[in-house]
């Protein structure tokens, strides 16, 4: 037994004699609980530090992922804008084409009514009869 341990054992015995064995034992139980509590808190602190450390390690990846997601979302929106514009223009173009078909139909109807008159005009003009 070392001299420190011997001194500690002597002091403990003296302390036990001063406070009495019951109180000494009770204090021992409390001290033991305090030690365990300290270990529990220490363990929690280590775990918390680990969590924060892990998170810090993941931050560049999170940044890249968020940046990429933002760009991808913008690209999706851009595609949507273009698609919408194309659909609108195609719709408008279809209306214009339908209007043109209607104009052509009108032209045919008008021409049909004046066809005879026009043929006669051409024959008369060419043959001068």
């Amino acid at each position: 037994m070392s001299s420190v341990e011997t001194k500690k054992a002597v002091l403990t015995e003296q302390w036990k004699m001063i406070v009495g064995e019951d109180i000494f034992n009770a204090l021992e139980i409390i001290r033991d609980a305090e030690n365990r509590a300290e270990k529990i808190i220490e363990k929690a602190r280590r775990e918390a530090e680990k969590i924060l450390e892990n998170t810090r390690g993941r931050l560049p990846e999170i940044y890249q992922e968020s940046y990429r997601n933002s760009i991808m979302e913008a690209e999706r929106k851009a595609r949507e804008i273009l698609e919408k514009a194309k659909t609108e223009a195609e719709k408008e173009a279809e209306l214009l084409m339908n209007r043109a078909k209607s104009i052509c139909e009108d032209l045919r109807n008008k021409a049909e009514k004046r066809k005879e008159e026009t043929i006669a005009y051409v024959v008369k003009t060419i043959l001068e009869i």
Partner: protein, 207 residues
Amino acid sequence: MAERISKRIIEDAVKEAELILQSAKEEAKKMIEEQRKRAMEDASKATSVLIKRAKEEAETLKRRLLSETDIKVKWMIIEEKKRIINEVLKAALARMEEYARSKSEYVEYLKRTIVRAGVILGGGDLRILLNKRDSKLNLDLEELARAIEMETGVRTTLSISDTNISTVGGFILESADGKRKLDSTFEGLLRTRARQLQIELARILFR
């Protein structure tokens, strides 16, 4: 008593440990959120450019599509007008072919126009090119030559060429040396006056 105190100490320690872990988790969550926010803010410049460019492209696309359609529509109407006019010209040629089959009237027409063409060419030795059917008609060439002579004061002879041309009616008149030529076939006359006729027909047909 000591056990109760001991139990309480452990319970408090567990609670404190939970609080420490909870706080760490919240802190981690906050760090992640802030990082995400930072990334989004950094990306926002690039995304704004992307969206702005997409909007500009959309406008250009729209304008281009509509402009193409506008041109297509104009062409469609022009093509339709051309088709109708060509149909009329085709029908007119068919009508002229019918006229060419009405012997007496047509013969008179030929005589009149041969004289006119002869005068335009200035008389001389002239050759008439006709289609196979018309080359058999009796045109009294001497009388026609005299009429040309009277108008031009140039001695004129007229002959029917052995070569037949492909036409529904009318003729080609040319000098014997082939240097002067006048196409008076119905197709030729239509070709010559096509531009003027198209304008006039468009005015009558689509007014």
